[in-house]
């Protein structure tokens, strides 16, 4: 879905390169989680990965982040010829905030881990952007679940990496907070290449430019569904609901769903 109108609140440095994953394979204990898996992530696109629990969604995400150890192979190429390593930011289901650091210190974690001087102004700006200005001095134990995930989002944005990998970042939140955070993420990450793992078809359709289903063992990637319009989309829209039904069919145990062409791209 290419749109010519420029959406408001784009990320400051839009991503300029495509990512092409070829023949990815990960095996644990001699069993292939997936093999011959191909996935393309166009520059600045928001891709969602749906699938049943344990199918290997997180593993695929972690594979891209170079976090899987052991029996792993595959090629990741970027269209600008620079390796992907070191150009990703990672956001997990748990907030992963360090309990001994304040919100602000957590947002600035990346710089201190690299031995750099943190950009306090930028951190404050991003903390304000996720609505935590009044909580910047608090430790995670003093925050609600939604506030923690906001802080984690600010920490992800602080890294300002061209590629953002998100592993069910909103799944532990209550519905209202989840919708708010989805909206916020859609706004602040616009222009970045994002891969989001989720088990919620509506979340995927709300946020994704491309929605893939991963299923089977070894897992295979189904053809992408491309919801119309800009994210965050209206989930009461008839087209979205129709596509949700289609995704649920693909996700379901109903084997006829396998008739959908397999192994996209």
């Amino acid at each position: 879905m290419t749109d010519t109108d420029i959406p408001p609140h784009s990320a400051p440095n839009p991503t300029q390169f495509d990512i092409d994953l070829r023949s990815a394979r990960v095996a644990f204990g001699g069993v292939d989680i997936f093999h011959d898996l191909d996935l393309g992530l166009p520059a600045g696109s928001f891709t969602c990965l749906l699938g049943p629990s344990g199918v290997g969604k997180s593993t695929l995400l972690r594979f891209l982040a170079d976090l899987v150890e052991g029996d792993v192979s595959g090629n990741i190429t970027c269209s600008d010829g620079v390796p992907l390593k070191g150009r990703i930011a990672y956001m997990a289901q748990q907030d992963l905030l360090l309990p001994w650091r304040t919100v602000r210190e957590n947002v600035e974690l990346g710089a201190s881990l690299r031995g750099q001087r943190p950009d306090h102004d930028k951190a404050d700006r991003l903390i304000a952007e996720v609505g935590l200005s009044n909580a910047a001095h608090l430790r995670p134990a003093e925050l609600s679940g939604g506030m923690k995930q906001r802080a984690a989002l600010a920490r992800t944005l602080m890294e300002d990496r061209p590629v953002v990998l998100m592993d069910e970042p909103f799944s532990a939140l209550d519905p209202v907070n989840r919708l708010r955070l989805q909206e916020l993420a859609a706004r602040v990450l616009r222009g970045k290449t994002v891969l989001l793992v989720t088990h919620d078809p509506l979340e995927a359709l709300r946020l994704g430019d491309f929605v893939h289903v991963l299923r089977g063992s070894p897992a295979r990637l189904q053809d992408a569904i491309t919801p119309a319009g800009h994210s965050p989309r209206d989930i009461t829209d008839a087209d979205i609901l129709r596509q949700q039904a289609q995704l649920l069919r693909q996700l379901g145990t109903n084997e006829t769903a396998a008739a959908v062409p397999e192994n996209a791209q």
Partner: protein
């Protein structure tokens, strides 16, 4: 706003908090006095609380002089043992081969009864402070090492993943994530150490020494000055409790994010 649940008012709870140890101490002393009265035990078997109090006051100078040694041995032993424990735990957590070589040695060291080691330490290190410090340090080395190693080995894997994507070096991973994350575990090991360190010092003094409360107890016991033995025990107890209390307070203040030191929020 009235709630049907009855709650003790804050001031009353605070009062109880102060009064509780006093009540416990008074009850213990009363039980002690009652035991002496009921059994009619002679003074050289079980002195009364008043006898012991009298000894505490009249022999204050001697008791204080010897207590200084025991306290010094305990405190120095505590810090020496904790430092060694921390220094052993870090390489064990960082380098797998070190863990494989050091763990069996640690376990074997725990199989040796420390009472049996005390005469050797006195033989090697002499009658002075060094052998008692070594004894106290040895006795606390294991709990500190194991607790800290456990803490270092159990770093939340998600934090490590996050740090790797952020480009952290192995060193900064240690100093910024693994060490602070393991501090609460180290603190619980250190608390245990605080409680057992005086035991090490006193054992050392029993075996060979001319100073310290352990020496004084043995000396008085041989002369059937049981009131003196009790006075030494009371001082040891008071010191151990005070030391534990101080260490606990300092650790809580130093690690305010620890779950047990947080005030409940919301």
């Amino acid at each position: 706003m009235s709630t049907p649940v009855k709650r003790t008012p804050l001031s009353e709870r605070r009062l109880l908090k102060i009064a509780r140890p006093i009540i416990i101490i008074v009850a213990l002393i009363a039980t002690w006095q009652l035991t002496v009265t009921l059994t009619g035990a002679p003074k050289y078997m079980l002195p009364t609380p008043v006898d012991v109090w009298h000894t505490l006051i009249t022999r204050y100078a001697v008791l204080f002089d010897h207590a200084r040694y025991t306290i010094a041995e305990t405190v120095i032993g505590l810090f020496a043992g904790a430092t060694l424990g921390a220094l052993a735990a870090i390489p064990m957590a960082l380098f797998t081969p070190v863990r494989f070589w050091l763990m069996p040695i640690l376990l074997v060291s725990q199989a040796i009864p420390f009472f049996a080691l005390a005469p050797l330490l006195v033989l090697w290190l002499g009658f002075g402070l060094a052998s008692k410090i070594a004894m106290a340090a040895l006795i606390i080395f294991f709990p500190v090492t194991v607790a800290f190693f456990d803490g270092l080995a159990r770093t939340e894997p998600g934090w490590l993943d996050l740090a790797r994507t952020m480009g952290a070096s192995r060193w900064r991973l240690l100093t910024h994530i693994r060490l602070p994350a393991a501090l609460p575990a180290f603190a619980s090991g250190f608390r245990v150490a605080t409680a057992v360190a005086p035991i090490g010092a006193v054992i050392g003094e029993w075996v060979g020494s001319s100073h310290g409360l352990g020496y004084l107890m043995l000396h008085a016991n041989a002369r059937v000055q049981i009131d003196m033995v009790f006075a030494c025990l009371l001082i040891l107890c008071a010191f151990s409790i005070t030391q534990y209390f101080i260490v606990d307070r300092v650790l809580r203040a130093a690690l305010p994010w620890q779950p047990d030191s947080l005030t409940p929020v919301r």
